[in-house]
């Protein structure tokens, strides 16, 4: 029975329930045994016992004292408690590790610390911009009241105030300012409608061809049959074209020099 209890690590509470139940049962059974050890000749009891205790046919039942059984019961309870405690600790450990991992990921997503520092300290450096002269004056005016209160920390206050209010942020890197009003105002319904009509007329199954083919067919079937239309691709021979341009410019320069 103990073996079973150790293997099944899934349900601690049930186990302890079982555990607490079994010893009582065992106690009952065992208790019964000393008191009724002499009266073990009743058939029912013997049968039960043999089913439960797995003893040989002719031997007398083992003599187990009350103390012993109590001790073993207590031991098993302790073990059970310890196992559950261990499991709780394990869970706690797992949870802690997970939390750490999330913190790590969050940290990675934020900007590295040095950039944030830069952003915070930058406004303090840019106090002399013309457009913000008024603002910085305003800032200083509001700061001066604070300054009055906390004399020694003046400089630090100013900087932090400015950093806090953040009138200009010199964001380095590929940022651009865009207004929502400038964005295309097609909402999703309109976009769905446009996609619908585009799909019906030009989507799959619409059997479309190119303008090139249309014009080529006209050439082939017209009264004066001629070759297929070939559209000029401006990307052809870009290097050659660039070289020709350069030579042309040089030649024009040469022409101008002798005449001037």
């Amino acid at each position: 029975m103990h073996k079973m209890l150790v293997e099944k690590e899934v349900q601690p509470h049930r186990r302890s329930g079982l555990m607490t139940y079994r010893p009582k049962m065992a106690k009952k059974l065992l208790r019964k045994s000393p008191s009724s050890s002499n009266k073990f000749n009743s058939a029912n009891m013997t049968d039960d016992f043999q089913l439960h205790l797995d003893s040989s046919d002719d031997d007398a039942p083992e003599e187990v004292t009350f103390e012993e059984s109590k001790a073993s019961a207590l031991r098993s309870m302790k073990n059970a408690l310890e196992t559950s405690k261990r499991e709780k600790d394990l869970l706690k450990e797992k949870r802690r590790k997970r939390q750490e991992l999330f913190q790590e990921q969050k940290k990675r997503r934020l900007l590295p610390a040095h950039i944030l520092e830069e952003i915070d300290t930058a406004p303090a450096k840019k106090q002399k911009l013309p457009g913000d002269q008024a603002e910085s004056n305003h800032e200083e005016a509001s700061c001066s009241w604070e300054e009055g209160r906390e004399g020694s920390k003046e400089g630090y206050e100013k900087e932090t105030k400015k950093g806090f209010k953040g009138n200009i942020r010199s964001l380095k890197g590929n940022y651009s300012v865009m207004r929502v009003a400038d964005q295309s105002s097609t909402n999703s319904q309109q976009q769905t409608a446009m996609d619908f009509i585009q799909a019906r007329l030009y989507g799959p199954g619409s059997q479309r061809t190119t303008n090139n083919e249309l014009l080529s067919l006209e050439n082939k079937r017209g009264p004066n049959k001629s070759a297929a239309m070939q559209f000029v691709n401006k990307k052809w021979g870009t290097e050659k074209k660039a070289k020709a341009e350069k030579l042309k410019k040089q030649w024009i320069q040469k022409q101008k020099v002798p005449s001037s």
Binding site: S184, S185, T186, Q189, Q190, T192, A193, M194, F196, R200, L201, Y202, G205, S206, Q207, R208, T209, T210, N211, N212, E213, L214, L215, L217, K220, R221, F231
Partner: protein, 590 residues
Amino acid sequence: MGEFKVHRVRFFDYMPTAIRAMAFNAHTERLALGRMDGSVEIFNFADHYFQEKVIPGKDSRSIEALCWVGGRLFSAGLNGEITEYDLENLRPKYSLEAYGGPIWTITSNSQGAHLAIGCEDGTVKLFEVLEESIQFERNLDRQKGRIISLSWHPSGTQIAAGMMDMIRVFDAVSMLLVDRGFGGSKSRETVVWSVVFLSDCTIISGDSAGKVQVWDGHTGTLVKTHLVTKWDVLALSVSKDESSVVVGTSEGTVIQFQFIAPTLQQQQDKEWVRTRTFKNHTHDVRALAEIETAIVSGGMDTQLVVRPLLEKFDERSHASALRKIQFPHRNLVFCAKKAGLLLFQFPGQLELWRLGESDGHGENLTHMDGKREMGKYSQYHAHYCRSRQPIHLMTNSVDGKWLATANSDCEIHVYNVQKLKLHCIVPVYGSCPSAMGIHPTTNNLTMVHADQQIFEYSIVEKQYTDWSRKLQKQGLHNLWLDRDTPVTHVTFNPKNPEQILLHDMHMFCIIDQSLPLPDQKTQFYNQMTLRSLSEQERPSHLHAFKICKTFQDLLSVSLLDDQSLVMVERPLLAITSQLPAPVRQKKFAT
């Protein structure tokens, strides 16, 4: 003619926009055209199909359908708004959000009291047309699919709505189920792109499977199916007397169905029979209108085609010929003559180019983005002109003293710029002026109208010049009057004060006022003949109109101070190469 050095300019990448919708107003004989970039154009069909007004488009505005209610123009688009246009000030009057999602179609009933719109969310919304605005009235039962097309019954009591895979007739029990068709895709739903409701309760529909179906609106049954194309049938239009229906397809064909008896026997019932097929477009036809004497079609190839119906004309004449309107009827290129600079006008930007020396390549100086400016002269006009119509033409004299303006009411005013007041009003002529120019030395105003008439008016004397009276008396040559594109630019030769240079899309002409005017029997296009004649014979054969057809698809012709001509051409082939994809047609032996 003289010899000129020519700068042949082809680097103006002018790209017209595809036509999306059109609506014809039979009372005023105006056609409203909606393009994919949101711009609206008004053509005067009574005045030689002249492009009277242009309302530029905006990115946020989308036009899916147009409709007239009396003299008022409404449009609806995928941005979910109904817009009414102010045709006098050439801008939208107001936009009303319909709250049904993108709007696919808008139509008015024959009484002009209600507007119905078909929305993406499956509702048909009815609006009441009030004096100065429209007001929401109610929704019809919401359907499961989007409403792509609508048509009122002439009585105004029923509406037929074309949706996905079916046609629903509101205020009636029937719901007509459109078959998915013979075409390959059984998995895709059939879209009923267009539907018309006739007064005898017949419904004709065109769908994406290429079928034109005739339904009985009373019983809700299919009477006849015509498979006209492998691709989609995109547009439908019915004539006023309901005897003819025209259908536009993705192939670029326009097919006519007529309600006639199929055989000559008297007892035969009339039915809808396919009669004519027109192939005037290379790309999808998305907008159609059948007017009294012609079929007007437009689509992705950006050309407006007017095909007069020959049975309505007694004889073959200029009026019964096919007309294609490809370029706008106004000047998009401005030339600085001394500096040799060209300014190109695009819908959202201006480009300034300098003309090159010998190779004709221009150098692009700047690339300016900006709105179209009328110039500072416009503020003077606002003070002094009482007309409510917008000005579409303006020209000033070289000495800066005079300014002439023309509006779409065919009124031409001349202002004295120095004194800032109206100098005179030129007598109104029936046709709208398409080009004007003031002579640098004589200060004579030369006007060319949409019907190709030419007038010369002396600003100083406030009357027509003698030459102009002579021309009117003689009359212009028939070949000149038969031209189908208007003159868009008039300019002069500073070295030869008797020459007037003008051009239209297909020709460039120098009028020499010192030469005799041609009469009807003279050979009009005589430049080639003159070249073959000897020196002695030539003078007797000369006439005033010297026409050159070497340069085609002209957008502008100007004369620089150094006597070199600048021809700005935009080959139609270059435009075609940049259009969206056409359908693939399998032709035998290709």
